[in-house]
Protein backbone atom coordinates (compact mmCIF):
# COMPACT_ATOMS: atom_id res chain seq x y z
CA UNK A 1 0.00 0.00 0.00
CA UNK A 2 1.23 3.48 -0.82
CA UNK A 3 1.71 6.05 1.93
CA UNK A 4 -1.09 8.18 0.52
CA UNK A 5 -3.50 5.33 0.81
CA UNK A 6 -2.32 4.65 4.28
CA UNK A 7 -2.74 8.24 5.27
CA UNK A 8 -6.21 8.35 3.81
CA UNK A 9 -7.47 5.58 6.00
CA UNK A 10 -7.46 6.44 9.66
CA UNK A 11 -6.41 3.71 12.06
CA UNK A 12 -4.85 2.01 9.12
CA UNK A 13 -2.04 0.67 11.25
CA UNK A 14 -4.44 -1.17 13.45
CA UNK A 15 -6.13 -3.10 10.70
CA UNK A 16 -3.94 -6.14 11.27
CA UNK A 17 -4.36 -6.18 15.02
CA UNK A 18 -7.14 -8.22 16.54
CA UNK A 19 -8.62 -6.75 19.64
CA UNK A 20 -9.12 -9.82 21.83
CA UNK A 21 -5.34 -10.33 21.92
CA UNK A 22 -4.61 -7.17 23.87
CA UNK A 23 -5.02 -7.58 27.61
CA UNK A 24 -6.43 -4.65 29.50
CA UNK A 25 -5.20 -4.04 32.99
CA UNK A 26 -5.86 -1.57 35.71
CA UNK A 27 -7.98 -1.15 38.79
CA UNK A 28 -11.02 0.94 39.60
CA UNK A 29 -11.39 2.51 43.01
CA UNK A 30 -13.73 5.13 44.41
CA UNK A 31 -12.18 8.43 45.49
CA UNK A 32 -11.56 8.52 49.22
CA UNK A 33 -13.58 11.69 49.92
CA UNK A 34 -16.95 10.13 49.09
CA UNK A 35 -17.03 7.92 52.14
CA UNK A 36 -16.41 10.93 54.40
CA UNK A 37 -19.20 12.79 52.60
CA UNK A 38 -21.60 9.96 53.29
CA UNK A 39 -20.76 10.15 56.99
CA UNK A 40 -21.51 13.89 57.05
CA UNK A 41 -25.02 13.53 55.69
CA UNK A 42 -25.99 10.48 57.63
CA UNK A 43 -27.10 11.74 60.98
CA UNK A 44 -28.88 8.59 61.99
CA UNK A 45 -26.12 7.49 64.30
CA UNK A 46 -25.65 10.62 66.33
CA UNK A 47 -27.34 11.07 69.70
CA UNK A 48 -30.66 12.93 69.75
CA UNK A 49 -29.25 15.61 71.99
CA UNK A 50 -26.72 16.42 69.28
CA UNK A 51 -29.45 16.79 66.65
CA UNK A 52 -31.57 19.08 68.79
CA UNK A 53 -28.63 21.16 69.88
CA UNK A 54 -27.51 21.66 66.31
CA UNK A 55 -30.86 23.11 65.35
CA UNK A 56 -31.01 25.20 68.51
CA UNK A 57 -27.58 26.57 67.82
CA UNK A 58 -28.63 27.54 64.30
CA UNK A 59 -31.72 29.31 65.64
CA UNK A 60 -29.71 31.13 68.32
CA UNK A 61 -27.14 32.15 65.72
CA UNK A 62 -29.88 33.75 63.66
CA UNK A 63 -31.26 35.56 66.71
CA UNK A 64 -27.84 37.09 67.21
CA UNK A 65 -27.83 38.19 63.59
CA UNK A 66 -31.15 39.93 64.06
CA UNK A 67 -29.89 41.67 67.19
CA UNK A 68 -26.97 43.13 65.29
CA UNK A 69 -28.27 43.46 61.75
CA UNK A 70 -25.61 43.87 59.17
CA UNK A 71 -25.74 42.74 55.63
CA UNK A 72 -24.94 39.10 56.00
CA UNK A 73 -26.43 36.14 54.26
CA UNK A 74 -26.67 33.73 57.18
CA UNK A 75 -30.40 34.22 57.57
CA UNK A 76 -30.91 33.73 53.88
CA UNK A 77 -28.61 30.78 53.22
CA UNK A 78 -29.78 28.38 55.90
CA UNK A 79 -33.34 29.41 56.43
CA UNK A 80 -35.49 27.66 58.97
CA UNK A 81 -38.93 28.35 60.34
CA UNK A 82 -38.37 27.18 63.92
CA UNK A 83 -37.41 30.62 65.10
CA UNK A 84 -40.45 32.38 63.61
CA UNK A 85 -42.74 29.69 65.04
CA UNK A 86 -41.21 30.09 68.49
CA UNK A 87 -41.51 33.87 68.37
CA UNK A 88 -45.05 33.81 67.03
CA UNK A 89 -46.27 31.39 69.71
CA UNK A 90 -44.52 33.36 72.46
CA UNK A 91 -46.02 36.64 71.26
CA UNK A 92 -49.50 35.16 70.93
CA UNK A 93 -49.32 33.64 74.41
CA UNK A 94 -48.10 36.89 75.93
CA UNK A 95 -50.94 38.76 74.27
CA UNK A 96 -53.40 36.52 76.06
CA UNK A 97 -54.62 37.10 79.53
CA UNK A 98 -55.74 40.59 78.68
CA UNK A 99 -59.36 41.56 79.08
CA UNK A 100 -60.19 38.13 77.75
CA UNK A 101 -62.08 37.04 80.81
CA UNK A 102 -64.59 39.93 80.76
CA UNK A 103 -66.22 39.92 77.35
CA UNK A 104 -65.24 38.77 73.94
CA UNK A 105 -64.25 42.25 72.87
CA UNK A 106 -61.01 41.85 74.71
CA UNK A 107 -57.57 41.44 73.38
CA UNK A 108 -56.76 39.50 70.27
CA UNK A 109 -57.34 35.83 70.43
CA UNK A 110 -54.44 33.45 69.96
CA UNK A 111 -55.69 32.53 66.52
CA UNK A 112 -55.97 36.16 65.48
CA UNK A 113 -52.36 36.89 66.32
CA UNK A 114 -51.21 33.73 64.60
CA UNK A 115 -53.21 34.48 61.46
CA UNK A 116 -52.08 38.10 61.33
CA UNK A 117 -48.42 37.19 61.65
CA UNK A 118 -48.33 34.27 59.24
CA UNK A 119 -50.86 35.54 56.74
CA UNK A 120 -49.20 38.94 56.78
CA UNK A 121 -45.79 37.39 56.19
CA UNK A 122 -47.12 35.33 53.30
CA UNK A 123 -48.74 38.34 51.68
CA UNK A 124 -45.59 40.42 52.00
CA UNK A 125 -43.54 37.59 50.54
CA UNK A 126 -45.92 37.25 47.60
CA UNK A 127 -45.76 40.98 47.11
CA UNK A 128 -41.99 41.04 46.96
CA UNK A 129 -41.91 38.09 44.60
CA UNK A 130 -44.45 39.70 42.30
CA UNK A 131 -42.32 42.83 42.24
CA UNK A 132 -39.45 40.76 40.94
CA UNK A 133 -37.54 39.86 44.09
CA UNK A 134 -34.84 37.22 44.02
CA UNK A 135 -35.44 35.69 47.44
CA UNK A 136 -37.23 32.41 47.63
CA UNK A 137 -40.58 32.09 49.38
CA UNK A 138 -39.27 30.47 52.55
CA UNK A 139 -36.21 32.68 52.81
CA UNK A 140 -38.52 35.67 52.92
CA UNK A 141 -40.78 34.08 55.53
CA UNK A 142 -37.70 33.24 57.57
CA UNK A 143 -36.42 36.82 57.55
CA UNK A 144 -39.78 38.36 58.39
CA UNK A 145 -40.36 35.88 61.19
CA UNK A 146 -36.97 36.32 62.80
CA UNK A 147 -37.27 40.10 62.72
CA UNK A 148 -40.32 39.90 65.00
CA UNK A 149 -37.85 39.23 67.81
CA UNK A 150 -37.40 42.88 68.92
CA UNK A 151 -41.19 43.21 69.16
CA UNK A 152 -41.42 40.07 71.29
CA UNK A 153 -38.78 41.48 73.60
CA UNK A 154 -40.80 44.70 73.76
CA UNK A 155 -43.89 42.67 74.70
CA UNK A 156 -42.04 41.08 77.60
CA UNK A 157 -40.86 44.51 78.77
CA UNK A 158 -44.40 45.90 78.44
CA UNK A 159 -45.85 43.16 80.58
CA UNK A 160 -43.24 43.75 83.24
CA UNK A 161 -43.95 47.49 83.17
CA UNK A 162 -47.69 46.86 83.43
CA UNK A 163 -47.21 44.73 86.52
CA UNK A 164 -45.09 47.31 88.29
CA UNK A 165 -46.56 50.66 87.28
CA UNK A 166 -49.73 51.97 85.67
CA UNK A 167 -51.13 55.18 84.29
CA UNK A 168 -49.43 57.76 82.17
CA UNK A 169 -45.86 56.89 83.14
CA UNK A 170 -46.26 53.28 82.14
CA UNK A 171 -47.92 54.31 78.89
CA UNK A 172 -45.06 56.65 78.03
CA UNK A 173 -42.47 53.98 78.79
CA UNK A 174 -44.35 51.39 76.77
CA UNK A 175 -44.75 53.79 73.87
CA UNK A 176 -41.02 54.46 73.77
CA UNK A 177 -40.12 50.78 74.02
CA UNK A 178 -42.59 49.68 71.35
CA UNK A 179 -41.59 52.46 68.96
CA UNK A 180 -37.92 51.63 69.35
CA UNK A 181 -38.45 47.93 68.78
CA UNK A 182 -40.73 48.56 65.81
CA UNK A 183 -38.02 50.71 64.23
CA UNK A 184 -35.44 48.04 64.97
CA UNK A 185 -37.54 45.30 63.39
CA UNK A 186 -38.17 47.31 60.25
CA UNK A 187 -34.52 48.27 59.98
CA UNK A 188 -33.34 44.69 60.50
CA UNK A 189 -35.67 43.17 57.94
CA UNK A 190 -34.89 45.90 55.42
CA UNK A 191 -31.19 45.16 55.81
CA UNK A 192 -31.84 41.59 54.75
CA UNK A 193 -34.57 42.09 52.17
CA UNK A 194 -33.45 45.24 50.43
CA UNK A 195 -30.59 43.67 48.54
CA UNK A 196 -32.87 41.28 46.74
CA UNK A 197 -34.87 43.98 45.00
CA UNK A 198 -33.97 46.28 42.14
CA UNK A 199 -33.29 49.72 43.49
CA UNK A 200 -36.24 51.40 41.81
CA UNK A 201 -38.72 49.25 43.73
CA UNK A 202 -37.15 49.19 47.14
CA UNK A 203 -39.71 51.58 48.59
CA UNK A 204 -42.55 49.44 47.28
CA UNK A 205 -41.16 46.43 49.14
CA UNK A 206 -40.29 48.22 52.37
CA UNK A 207 -43.69 49.84 52.89
CA UNK A 208 -45.66 46.59 53.49
CA UNK A 209 -42.99 45.45 55.94
CA UNK A 210 -43.37 48.78 57.74
CA UNK A 211 -47.16 48.34 57.87
CA UNK A 212 -46.83 44.78 59.13
CA UNK A 213 -44.58 45.64 62.05
CA UNK A 214 -46.64 48.74 62.77
CA UNK A 215 -49.78 46.64 63.21
CA UNK A 216 -47.96 44.16 65.46
CA UNK A 217 -46.52 47.04 67.47
CA UNK A 218 -50.01 48.50 67.77
CA UNK A 219 -51.33 45.19 69.14
CA UNK A 220 -48.52 45.17 71.70
CA UNK A 221 -49.02 48.78 72.72
CA UNK A 222 -52.76 48.48 73.22
CA UNK A 223 -52.48 45.39 75.35
CA UNK A 224 -53.98 46.02 78.74
CA UNK A 225 -54.36 43.36 81.40
Amino acid sequence: MTSAEEASRPFAGLSDVSIPDIPVEGDISLPVASSARDDEFSTLDEPVKETILRDLRAVANKFVHVLYPKRSSVLLRDWDLWGPLLLCVTLALLLQGGAADSNDQGGPQFAEVFVIIWFGSIIITLNSKLLGGTLSFFQSLCVLGYCIMPLTVAMVVCRIVLYTASGKVSFAVRLVVVTASFGWSTFASTAFLADSQPSNRRGLVVYPVFLFYFVIGWMILTFSP
Binding site: G106, G107, N127, L130, L131, N200, G203, Y207, W218, F223
Partner: protein, 310 residues
Amino acid sequence: CEHFLFPYIQLDFEEAANLMDANRDVVTISIGDEDLKAKRQGPAGGFPPDVADDDPLGSDDKTELLAGQKKSAPFWTFEYYQAFFDVETHHVKERIIGSMLPWPGKNFIQVYLRKNPDLYGPFWICTTLVFACAISGNISTFLHKFGSSGYKYTPEFQKVTIAATAIFTYAWLVPLGLWGFLLWRNNKILNLVSYSFMEIICVYGYSLSVYIPAVVLWIIQVEWLRWCFMVVALCVSGSVLVTTFWPAVRDDNPRVTIAVIAIILLHYPAILIFFCMSLPVCFWETNAADGIKLVFFGETLVNGNCDHAC
Protein backbone atom coordinates in the same frame (compact mmCIF):
# COMPACT_ATOMS: atom_id res chain seq x y z
CA CYS B 1 -59.78 40.75 -0.90
CA GLU B 2 -57.32 38.04 -1.59
CA HIS B 3 -58.55 34.97 -3.29
CA PHE B 4 -58.73 31.89 -1.14
CA LEU B 5 -59.34 28.29 -1.91
CA PHE B 6 -62.24 27.98 0.51
CA PRO B 7 -65.10 30.30 -0.26
CA TYR B 8 -66.48 30.40 3.28
CA ILE B 9 -63.20 31.72 4.66
CA GLN B 10 -63.23 34.39 2.00
CA LEU B 11 -66.71 35.34 3.05
CA ASP B 12 -65.71 35.78 6.68
CA PHE B 13 -62.84 38.03 5.76
CA GLU B 14 -65.13 40.05 3.53
CA GLU B 15 -67.48 40.60 6.41
CA ALA B 16 -64.65 41.70 8.64
CA ALA B 17 -63.40 44.08 5.96
CA ASN B 18 -66.89 45.54 5.59
CA LEU B 19 -67.07 46.08 9.32
CA MET B 20 -63.71 47.82 9.27
CA ASP B 21 -64.77 50.02 6.35
CA ALA B 22 -67.99 51.01 8.07
CA ASN B 23 -66.26 52.02 11.28
CA ARG B 24 -63.12 53.58 9.96
CA ASP B 25 -64.32 57.13 10.37
CA VAL B 26 -65.68 56.42 13.82
CA VAL B 27 -62.43 54.88 14.96
CA THR B 28 -60.14 57.79 14.15
CA ILE B 29 -61.98 60.61 15.96
CA SER B 30 -60.93 60.45 19.61
CA ILE B 31 -57.58 59.77 21.19
CA GLY B 32 -59.02 57.66 23.96
CA ASP B 33 -59.82 54.69 21.83
CA GLU B 34 -56.40 53.21 21.31
CA ASP B 35 -57.11 49.92 22.99
CA LEU B 36 -60.49 49.68 21.26
CA LYS B 37 -58.73 49.95 17.93
CA ALA B 38 -56.27 47.30 18.98
CA LYS B 39 -59.09 44.96 19.94
CA ARG B 40 -60.86 45.49 16.64
CA GLN B 41 -57.79 44.95 14.55
CA GLY B 42 -56.62 41.94 16.51
CA PRO B 43 -58.72 39.32 14.77
CA ALA B 44 -58.38 41.00 11.38
CA GLY B 45 -54.64 41.44 11.66
CA GLY B 46 -53.97 39.84 8.32
CA PHE B 47 -54.85 42.99 6.37
CA PRO B 48 -51.70 45.08 6.00
CA PRO B 49 -53.41 47.70 3.78
CA ASP B 50 -55.99 48.45 6.47
CA VAL B 51 -53.44 48.90 9.20
CA ALA B 52 -51.43 51.27 7.07
CA ASP B 53 -54.53 53.26 6.13
CA ASP B 54 -55.25 54.33 9.69
CA ASP B 55 -52.43 56.77 9.59
CA PRO B 56 -52.62 59.06 12.62
CA LEU B 57 -52.38 56.22 15.09
CA GLY B 58 -50.81 53.61 12.85
CA SER B 59 -47.59 53.20 14.82
CA ASP B 60 -49.52 53.21 18.07
CA ASP B 61 -51.59 50.34 16.77
CA LYS B 62 -48.51 48.31 16.09
CA THR B 63 -47.13 49.01 19.52
CA GLU B 64 -50.53 48.22 20.97
CA LEU B 65 -50.55 44.87 19.23
CA LEU B 66 -47.02 44.16 20.38
CA ALA B 67 -47.73 45.33 23.88
CA GLY B 68 -50.83 43.18 23.95
CA GLN B 69 -48.78 40.20 22.93
CA LYS B 70 -46.42 40.49 25.87
CA LYS B 71 -49.19 39.98 28.43
CA SER B 72 -50.43 36.69 27.06
CA ALA B 73 -49.41 34.36 29.88
CA PRO B 74 -52.31 32.17 31.02
CA PHE B 75 -54.03 33.33 34.15
CA TRP B 76 -52.97 30.41 36.29
CA THR B 77 -49.27 31.18 36.00
CA PHE B 78 -47.29 33.50 38.23
CA GLU B 79 -46.06 35.58 35.29
CA TYR B 80 -49.59 36.69 34.47
CA TYR B 81 -49.86 38.44 37.80
CA GLN B 82 -46.33 39.79 37.66
CA ALA B 83 -47.42 41.88 34.72
CA PHE B 84 -49.67 43.83 37.07
CA PHE B 85 -46.84 44.74 39.41
CA ASP B 86 -44.69 46.31 36.74
CA VAL B 87 -44.39 49.68 38.45
CA GLU B 88 -41.67 51.60 40.20
CA THR B 89 -41.72 53.58 43.39
CA HIS B 90 -42.01 56.94 41.71
CA HIS B 91 -44.87 55.71 39.53
CA VAL B 92 -46.88 54.77 42.59
CA LYS B 93 -46.07 58.07 44.28
CA GLU B 94 -47.17 60.02 41.21
CA ARG B 95 -50.40 58.08 40.97
CA ILE B 96 -51.26 58.63 44.62
CA ILE B 97 -50.57 62.35 44.37
CA GLY B 98 -52.56 62.50 41.14
CA SER B 99 -55.53 60.91 42.83
CA MET B 100 -55.40 63.37 45.70
CA LEU B 101 -55.18 66.46 43.48
CA PRO B 102 -57.76 66.12 40.73
CA TRP B 103 -57.58 68.52 37.85
CA PRO B 104 -60.57 69.16 35.55
CA GLY B 105 -58.91 68.13 32.32
CA LYS B 106 -56.74 65.32 33.55
CA ASN B 107 -58.22 61.92 33.11
CA PHE B 108 -56.52 59.71 35.70
CA ILE B 109 -56.41 56.69 33.45
CA GLN B 110 -54.89 58.50 30.53
CA VAL B 111 -52.46 60.73 32.37
CA TYR B 112 -51.18 58.45 35.09
CA LEU B 113 -51.94 54.89 34.18
CA ARG B 114 -50.92 55.08 30.52
CA LYS B 115 -51.84 51.52 29.69
CA ASN B 116 -49.96 50.17 32.70
CA PRO B 117 -52.50 49.50 35.42
CA ASP B 118 -51.08 47.96 38.54
CA LEU B 119 -52.56 45.98 41.39
CA TYR B 120 -49.97 47.06 43.94
CA GLY B 121 -51.52 50.47 44.58
CA PRO B 122 -55.15 49.40 45.03
CA PHE B 123 -54.28 46.43 47.24
CA TRP B 124 -51.96 48.22 49.63
CA ILE B 125 -54.08 51.35 49.76
CA CYS B 126 -57.09 49.24 50.75
CA THR B 127 -55.04 47.40 53.38
CA THR B 128 -53.71 50.64 54.80
CA LEU B 129 -57.21 52.07 54.89
CA VAL B 130 -58.49 49.02 56.77
CA PHE B 131 -55.86 49.34 59.47
CA ALA B 132 -56.16 53.12 59.57
CA CYS B 133 -59.92 52.78 60.17
CA ALA B 134 -59.44 50.22 62.91
CA ILE B 135 -56.66 52.08 64.70
CA SER B 136 -58.24 55.49 64.38
CA GLY B 137 -61.56 54.14 65.59
CA ASN B 138 -59.83 52.62 68.56
CA ILE B 139 -58.01 55.82 69.45
CA SER B 140 -61.10 57.96 69.06
CA THR B 141 -63.11 55.66 71.32
CA PHE B 142 -60.35 55.76 73.86
CA LEU B 143 -60.05 59.53 73.79
CA HIS B 144 -63.78 59.98 73.91
CA LYS B 145 -64.25 57.84 76.98
CA PHE B 146 -61.01 58.63 78.71
CA GLY B 147 -62.47 60.50 81.61
CA SER B 148 -65.59 58.46 82.23
CA SER B 149 -65.55 56.06 85.11
CA GLY B 150 -65.83 52.36 84.71
CA TYR B 151 -64.37 52.43 81.26
CA LYS B 152 -62.02 49.64 80.44
CA TYR B 153 -60.02 49.99 77.27
CA THR B 154 -60.50 47.15 74.88
CA PRO B 155 -58.86 46.95 71.48
CA GLU B 156 -61.73 45.85 69.34
CA PHE B 157 -60.42 43.55 66.66
CA GLN B 158 -63.75 42.74 65.08
CA LYS B 159 -63.54 46.16 63.51
CA VAL B 160 -60.53 45.08 61.49
CA THR B 161 -62.45 42.15 60.05
CA ILE B 162 -65.56 44.15 59.31
CA ALA B 163 -63.66 47.08 57.82
CA ALA B 164 -61.54 44.73 55.72
CA THR B 165 -64.56 42.92 54.33
CA ALA B 166 -66.40 46.11 53.49
CA ILE B 167 -63.49 47.96 51.93
CA PHE B 168 -62.18 45.11 49.84
CA THR B 169 -65.68 44.20 48.68
CA TYR B 170 -66.24 47.80 47.64
CA ALA B 171 -62.90 47.97 45.85
CA TRP B 172 -63.66 44.89 43.74
CA LEU B 173 -67.41 44.80 43.26
CA VAL B 174 -68.08 48.39 42.25
CA PRO B 175 -65.42 48.36 39.48
CA LEU B 176 -66.82 45.04 38.30
CA GLY B 177 -70.31 46.49 38.10
CA LEU B 178 -69.12 49.63 36.35
CA TRP B 179 -67.02 47.69 33.87
CA GLY B 180 -69.93 45.39 33.08
CA PHE B 181 -72.20 48.38 32.61
CA LEU B 182 -69.73 50.15 30.30
CA LEU B 183 -69.30 46.95 28.31
CA TRP B 184 -73.05 46.65 27.89
CA ARG B 185 -73.37 50.27 26.78
CA ASN B 186 -70.43 49.88 24.40
CA ASN B 187 -72.20 47.05 22.66
CA LYS B 188 -75.30 49.16 22.26
CA ILE B 189 -73.96 52.49 21.17
CA LEU B 190 -70.46 51.79 19.79
CA ASN B 191 -68.67 54.07 22.18
CA LEU B 192 -65.21 55.48 21.64
CA VAL B 193 -63.63 55.24 25.02
CA SER B 194 -63.39 51.94 26.78
CA TYR B 195 -61.44 51.05 29.85
CA SER B 196 -60.20 47.63 30.76
CA PHE B 197 -61.23 46.01 34.02
CA MET B 198 -57.78 46.46 35.53
CA GLU B 199 -57.79 50.16 34.77
CA ILE B 200 -61.12 50.66 36.50
CA ILE B 201 -59.93 48.74 39.57
CA CYS B 202 -56.81 50.88 39.56
CA VAL B 203 -58.79 54.15 39.48
CA TYR B 204 -61.04 53.06 42.30
CA GLY B 205 -58.15 51.82 44.39
CA TYR B 206 -56.15 55.00 44.02
CA SER B 207 -59.22 57.15 44.61
CA LEU B 208 -59.54 55.57 48.06
CA SER B 209 -56.15 56.96 48.99
CA VAL B 210 -57.53 60.36 49.91
CA TYR B 211 -59.61 58.74 52.67
CA ILE B 212 -56.55 57.66 54.60
CA PRO B 213 -55.66 61.13 55.91
CA ALA B 214 -59.36 61.82 56.50
CA VAL B 215 -59.69 58.69 58.60
CA VAL B 216 -56.53 59.44 60.55
CA LEU B 217 -57.75 62.96 61.25
CA TRP B 218 -60.98 61.47 62.56
CA ILE B 219 -59.11 61.14 65.87
CA ILE B 220 -59.69 64.82 66.51
CA GLN B 221 -62.63 65.04 68.82
CA VAL B 222 -64.24 68.09 67.24
CA GLU B 223 -67.40 66.92 65.48
CA TRP B 224 -67.81 69.52 62.74
CA LEU B 225 -64.14 69.25 61.83
CA ARG B 226 -64.48 65.51 61.33
CA TRP B 227 -67.41 65.95 59.01
CA CYS B 228 -65.53 68.70 57.20
CA PHE B 229 -62.61 66.38 56.49
CA MET B 230 -64.91 63.62 55.35
CA VAL B 231 -66.80 65.93 52.98
CA VAL B 232 -63.53 67.21 51.50
CA ALA B 233 -62.34 63.65 50.97
CA LEU B 234 -65.68 62.80 49.36
CA CYS B 235 -65.38 65.71 46.93
CA VAL B 236 -61.80 64.96 45.92
CA SER B 237 -62.44 61.27 45.45
CA GLY B 238 -65.67 61.84 43.60
CA SER B 239 -64.14 64.36 41.24
CA VAL B 240 -61.31 61.99 40.35
CA LEU B 241 -63.84 59.36 39.42
CA VAL B 242 -66.09 61.74 37.52
CA THR B 243 -63.27 63.22 35.43
CA THR B 244 -62.16 59.70 34.62
CA PHE B 245 -65.51 58.28 33.59
CA TRP B 246 -67.02 61.33 31.98
CA PRO B 247 -65.46 60.64 28.55
CA ALA B 248 -66.81 57.13 28.66
CA VAL B 249 -70.44 58.05 29.26
CA ARG B 250 -70.86 61.52 27.81
CA ASP B 251 -71.88 60.26 24.38
CA ASP B 252 -74.61 58.11 25.72
CA ASN B 253 -78.29 58.82 26.14
CA PRO B 254 -78.41 61.83 28.52
CA ARG B 255 -80.55 60.03 31.03
CA VAL B 256 -78.07 57.17 31.19
CA THR B 257 -75.21 59.64 31.55
CA ILE B 258 -76.84 61.41 34.43
CA ALA B 259 -77.76 58.13 36.08
CA VAL B 260 -74.19 56.83 35.92
CA ILE B 261 -72.64 60.03 37.22
CA ALA B 262 -75.23 60.21 39.98
CA ILE B 263 -74.50 56.66 41.05
CA ILE B 264 -70.76 57.29 41.06
CA LEU B 265 -71.23 60.32 43.27
CA LEU B 266 -74.06 59.16 45.48
CA HIS B 267 -72.79 55.79 46.57
CA TYR B 268 -70.20 57.68 48.51
CA PRO B 269 -72.60 58.78 51.23
CA ALA B 270 -73.32 55.09 51.72
CA ILE B 271 -69.63 54.57 52.32
CA LEU B 272 -69.60 57.59 54.59
CA ILE B 273 -72.35 56.14 56.70
CA PHE B 274 -70.40 52.93 56.94
CA PHE B 275 -67.39 54.85 58.21
CA CYS B 276 -69.51 56.57 60.82
CA MET B 277 -70.92 53.33 62.04
CA SER B 278 -67.58 51.60 62.24
CA LEU B 279 -65.58 54.39 63.80
CA PRO B 280 -67.11 54.28 67.17
CA VAL B 281 -68.92 57.30 68.33
CA CYS B 282 -71.36 54.65 69.48
CA PHE B 283 -71.51 51.30 71.14
CA TRP B 284 -72.26 48.21 69.15
CA GLU B 285 -75.31 47.29 71.18
CA THR B 286 -77.49 50.14 70.01
CA ASN B 287 -80.43 49.27 67.88
CA ALA B 288 -81.29 50.57 64.42
CA ALA B 289 -83.34 53.63 65.42
CA ASP B 290 -80.61 54.80 67.69
CA GLY B 291 -78.20 54.04 64.88
CA ILE B 292 -79.73 56.68 62.62
CA LYS B 293 -79.63 59.22 65.42
CA LEU B 294 -76.02 58.38 66.07
CA VAL B 295 -74.98 58.78 62.46
CA PHE B 296 -76.57 62.12 61.94
CA PHE B 297 -76.30 63.69 65.35
CA GLY B 298 -73.26 62.05 66.79
CA GLU B 299 -74.78 61.34 70.13
CA THR B 300 -73.74 58.48 72.27
CA LEU B 301 -75.68 56.42 74.72
CA VAL B 302 -73.97 55.83 78.00
CA ASN B 303 -76.02 53.74 80.39
CA GLY B 304 -79.21 54.81 78.66
CA ASN B 305 -78.55 58.55 78.91
CA CYS B 306 -77.76 60.72 75.96
CA ASP B 307 -74.39 62.46 75.93
CA HIS B 308 -73.13 64.55 73.08
CA ALA B 309 -69.93 63.38 71.52
CA CYS B 310 -67.99 66.58 72.06
